[in-house]
């Protein structure tokens, strides 16, 4: 199997940008990634796009602006993990010798989808019953409150950590200051116990990654592992909250592929669409036992100056969550961290990084898909 390397990354700004064409967001990201990789557009053999809401045909409208005609190109939809799934596809293609250089693009523009009340997916049994995604996460949070004694302050600590990290991220939604625990808890209640500042903001954004075979260029990062799983039945038999099992499933595969344990990961970008999401995910990744994930942020373990920084970019809580665009943004941050290029966000130990995205939105399944990738600085 040919080792797959990350050659370059690029991102548009992430935030409310309803007046920008979705293609323009993509061109920003692709331009950045191609320049970062030091290639010319003609070097690209294939294009894999991750997007949930597209719209249909967005890949080809983007292609019109960049050339690279005729190459194999397809769009992947795996809910929130669409962009990371596109990355996984590219990694696997390079590993199996199908292509030598692949452009990965992840994009979604959420600001033009709905205004006012959230409109969940009408064809979903629970979406049709008016369960919004923050409500699904709130059901998990409430379970953790009652089962493990997780406190409101512990939930808020994730938002405080990530929004403070996000202040140093020029590509995230800029704020003058980060909220305190009390301000997080005092923000508008969305679904008990989650408050507004515990939920990622609406956002638009595109990210791009260039994946290729080994080429001996300094700054290229080794993809030690990439694992993609779909969901499994989540029902009355499930031992864990929604959002746990699919992450654990992908993580197990990724750690086995890389031959590593969770303790060896220096820096992580994980799916913190809601504060409880980061807590449950860290448990599923093996950073803490079940029920103890809520201690990671308050103890400083996952702070930027902690032993295992989680979401030094500010995460989804700072960037927002333009679904398909999230995976590449996470990969970009890990790339910058591993290369020592993260500026004010730079973490001290940066040899091995991990990216995790898990998408939901289908009732009765423990996630639509989850991708866990492990990258490292080559020896």
């Amino acid at each position: 199997m040919i080792p797959a390397m990350l050659w370059g990354v690029g991102m548009s700004a992430y935030g409310l940008q309803p007046d920008r064409r979705v293609e323009a967001l993509c061109w920003d990201a692709i331009g950045g990634a191609v320049r970062d990789a030091g290639i010319s557009p003609g070097d690209i053999d294939a294009i894999v796009v991750g997007s949930v809401f597209g719209p249909p045909g967005v890949a080809t409208r983007v292609q019109r602006g960049i050339g690279i005609p005729g190459v194999p190109m397809w769009t992947v939809e795996n809910a929130c993990a669409s962009g990371t799934s596109a990355f996984h596809e590219a990694v696997e293609a390079v590993r199996h010798g199908r292509f030598g250089c692949v452009l990965v693009l992840g994009v979604d523009q959420m600001s033009t989808l709905f205004s006012g009340a959230i409109v969940p997916e009408a064809t979903d049994p629970e979406g049709a019953a008016s369960l919004p995604l923050p409500g699904l996460y709130a059901l998990a949070a409430q379970r953790y409150v009652q089962e493990f004694g997780v406190t409101p302050e512990q939930l808020a600590a994730v938002a405080v950590k990530n929004k403070r990290n996000g202040l140093d991220n020029p590509l995230a939604q800029l704020r003058a200051s980060a909220p305190t625990v009390q301000e997080v808890l005092g923000s508008r209640v969305i679904a008990e116990p989650l408050t507004m500042l515990q939920c990622c903001p609406t956002s638009d954004g595109a990210g791009a990654v260039i994946v290729g075979a080994e080429r001996g260029v300094a700054g290229d990062l080794l993809v030690e592992a990439s694992a993609m799983v779909s969901g499994a039945l989540w029902d009355h038999r499930s031992a864990d909250v929604w959002g746990f099992a699919s992450v654990a499933r992908a993580a197990e595969q990724a750690f086995a592929q890389a031959g590593r344990s969770p303790a060896e990961i220096d820096v992580l970008e994980v799916h913190d669409a809601f504060t409880i999401g980061e807590i449950v995910t860290c448990e599923a990744l093996g950073l803490a036992p079940r029920g103890k994930g809520a201690e990671l942020a308050p103890s400083g373990h996952t702070a930027r100056d902690g032993l295992q920084p989680v979401n030094p970019s500010g995460g989804l809580l700072s960037r927002g969550h333009p679904l398909g665009g999230t995976g590449p943004a996470q990969l970009a941050e890990i790339a910058w961290q591993l290369r020592g290029q993260a500026g004010p966000r730079q973490v001290a130990r940066h040899r091995v990084g991990l990216v995790e995205t898990m998408g939901g939105g289908a009732a009765g399944m423990d996630g639509n898909a989850c991708v866990v990738a492990i990258l490292s600085v080559p020896d």
Partner: protein, 135 residues
């Protein structure tokens, strides 16, 4: 220029409740005193869906089933924002029906309940299952 998206849902197929075209009903059905679904004839796995080709747990043959309307709450929440045509506050819970599937219900009273609280589905509201704390 008009504000983007205002006045209409721009999402594809948002459902009839918010002005889109109707879609086929996917929510669990209540038939008098029973929730309709399927049960595997080999492993007894209960599902809140009908029309599935085999048991999703063991691939055995399934048959139509009727489930008890009583069960225990796995978790609950109170939603404080408008969702579709629902106005806040409204309570939701995952209800594990006795010898049956886990279903999402609206709570008659918009309040969080302790894990394990006994609930009873009392009817439907606009097609959503509604449950109250069982005495």
């Amino acid at each position: 220029m008009a504000e983007l998206g205002v006045g209409r849902p721009t999402k594809r197929r948002p459902g009839a409740a918010v002005g889109g075209l109707p879609v086929a009903e996917s929510r669990p059905a209540l038939d008098g005193e029973a929730v309709l679904g399927s049960r595997c004839t080999a492993c007894r796995y209960p599902a809140a869906q009908r029309g599935i080709p085999w048991c999703p747990a063991c691939y055995g043959p399934v048959a139509d089933a009727r489930f008890a309307v009583t069960g225990t709450a796995w978790s609950s929440t109170v939603v404080a924002i408008p969702v579709g045509t629902r106005r806040p506050p409204f309570g939701l819970a995952y209800l594990d029906l006795d010898d049956g599937p886990r279903v999402l219900v609206h709570l008659a009273e918009a309040a969080v309940v302790p894990i394990g609280t006994r609930l009873r589905i009392t009817g439907t509201d606009g097609g959503d299952l509604v449950a109250a704390v069982a005495p």
